[in-house]
């Protein structure tokens, strides 16, 4: 049984259809990368999976249970955590408070505590009692991922963790992510850097104007295939939809 399955999901912003008829599954321990140009609907899809945005139609099934109507906070308690685009830390709370507040409200019974998060993201150690708003982008991203981990997720959704970070900061964040991946975490991540997406993920889904236009194992898709799907160069037909 797959951990997450998204079935014929349609998500709108008012009249705009940001996600159209998207279906895919994520298995336990799998790393799935979601790529696509700006405005392709990746963030909207992630937020719909996390429960922050109600879909117009379709279903989100997590661990065999239909969670489509479940509010976001209850999905977190069930083990679904999103690191939102732009990090969104609680700015007037300290790093430690950002972690504690998530730990106190997330899923019970996991290994993640403030100390284990600080161990996994050593750059946070000296910042523990600093206000989150005063952190650099890379530090904030580490804190945002750590905060999501505090909820002890069974599935971690990461929306553009490298957005606005220096190359060195991006390296740091991905180094920590690899520790998670080696530990058997299940992750869906949005990544603009195609090369990095191919390297880190086992499977890739490419979105274009709200639709899935390409899906396949990362090691079998060529970068040319991905690039063409990414820009919608017409070689690849939308999966499951007549042209």
């Amino acid at each position: 049984m797959s951990l997450l399955s998204v079935e014929n999901l349609d998500v709108r912003h008012g009249l705009l259809k940001a996600v159209r008829d998207v279906s895919f599954e994520v298995g336990e321990g799998e790393i799935l990368a979601l790529v696509g140009a700006n405005g392709a609907g990746k963030t909207t899809l992630m937020r719909a999976i996390a429960g922050a945005h109600r879909p117009a139609s379709g279903r989100v099934v997590f661990e065999g249970a239909d969670v489509t109507a479940m509010p976001a906070h209850r999905r977190v308690r069930a083990g679904l955590a999103l690191v939102p685009e732009g990090r969104r830390l609680f700015p007037d709370m300290t790093v430690e408070e950002n972690l504690i507040v998530a730990g106190a409200n997330g899923r019970r019974g996991g290994a993640w505590k403030v100390d284990t998060v600080l161990e996994a993201f050593p750059i946070l150690k000296p910042l523990r009692f600093k206000r989150a708003a005063t952190l650099s982008g890379g530090e904030q991203q580490a804190c945002a991922i750590g905060r999501a981990l505090m909820t002890n997720p069974r599935l971690l959704l990461l929306d553009e963790v490298s957005l606005g970070l220096s190359p060195i900061a991006v390296e740091g964040v991905y180094r920590s992510l690899h520790t998670l991946i080696d530990g058997g975490a299940t992750i869906v991540l949005v990544e603009q850097d195609l090369a990095r997406a191919r390297k880190v993920a086992q499977r890739i889904i490419c979105m274009l104007e709200g639709r899935m236009v390409l899906e396949g194992p990362a090691d079998r898709l060529t970068s040319r295939e991905i690039t063409e799907a990414y820009f919608g160069l017409g070689r690849v037909q939308p999966k499951g939809a007549p042209a």
Binding site: G51, V76, A81, E97, I100, N105, R147
Partner: protein, 292 residues
């Protein structure tokens, strides 16, 4: 010595204003609603307490326990039933909703209790009659000290609660970013409802002290709202310690004004309020402390 006395009485009055205002500050800090029914809810709390005391002849301090629980429930239900919906319609609708609610509460109180003034002073026991005379013009009343102590305890307690407890941290997180709070497992609707419950209970506590210290009448709500509002604005919206400072400044301004001429009491308070807005629209502590 008369001015020392005036300042001292002002500090005590200011403690009352801070107690009255902290719920207004909390609701604004957490939900970004300016609750125009705050004063009327304080008066409602006073009348509920008065009614129970009248029926049972118990001490108002004892009756505070059930009436604060009831008023917590009122705040909770208010958020769930009324404010939550109006919040979805933008920032103007909650303002109109609470304005309408104030009118409804005032009129219900008028209908049920008639326009007479009521006081709990007679049933509150020795605390209302005890005072210590320091000099000819300067005396310290036990009730004044009690009100000041309760105000500091409530504001300090709230501040500690927001900083140190699980629910308090969830409240601050929700205040800063409710969307993201949901994404770390916080039931933001539940947090809002509990914040409203706490705020309304503190308003009721202030209302009861008003009735012990002086009198209440069904139409007293709007005046109390103005005092609470001025205390909050002087101190800086959304900051609890600011609200304490704001309350004290307002109280001292009023008693000093009254020293010049008894009719200048409220006027002096309003002038200080306007002066603070003119000089620093964010309030005195606004730049120093974040939300809630």
């Amino acid at each position: 010595m008369t001015y020392v006395n005036a300042v001292f009485q002002g500090i005590i009055l200011g403690g009352f204003y801070a107690l009255l205002a902290c719920g207004l500050s909390l609701i604004f800090g957490v939900m970004r609603i300016i609750n125009l029914a705050h004063g009327s809810l304080a008066v409602l709390g006073a009348f509920i307490t008065w009614w129970i005391v009248d029926k049972t002849s118990l001490s108002p301090f004892l009756v505070l326990i059930p009436s604060l629980i009831v008023m917590f429930g009122v705040g909770w239900a208010l958020q769930r039933g009324l404010l939550e919906r109006s919040l979805r319609a933008g920032i103007l609708i909650p303002l109109l909703t609470t304005f309408g609610l104030a009118i409804v509460i005032d009129n219900v109180l008028l209908g049920v209790f008639s326009p007479d003034v009521r006081s709990l002073g007679g049933q509150a026991g020795a605390v209302t009659t005890t005072s210590w005379k320091v000099s000819q013009q300067f005396s310290i009343s036990a009730l004044g000290i009690l009100i000041l102590a309760v105000a500091v305890a409530v504001l300090g307690g709230l501040s500690l609660f927001l900083r140190r407890t699980t629910l308090g941290r969830a409240m601050r997180a929700t205040a800063q970013d409710s969307d993201t709070a949901e994404l770390v497992g916080i039931d933001s609707r539940g947090v809002y409802a509990r914040a409203a419950g706490i705020a309304v209970a503190t308003a009721a506590l202030a209302g009861v002290f008003l009735a012990i210290r002086a009198v209440v009448e069904p139409s007293a709500g709007p005046t109390q709202l103005i005092f609470a509002f001025e205390a909050v604005v002087i101190g800086g919206f959304g900051s609890l310690w600011g609200t304490l400072v704001g309350g004290l400044i307002l109280g001292v301004a009023q008693t000093l004004g009254a020293q010049i001429n008894p009719q200048y009491a409220n006027l002096a308070g309003h002038l200080v309020f306007l002066a603070v807005i003119a000089v620093r629209s964010g309030g005195i502590l606004a730049a120093r402390e974040g939300t809630a």
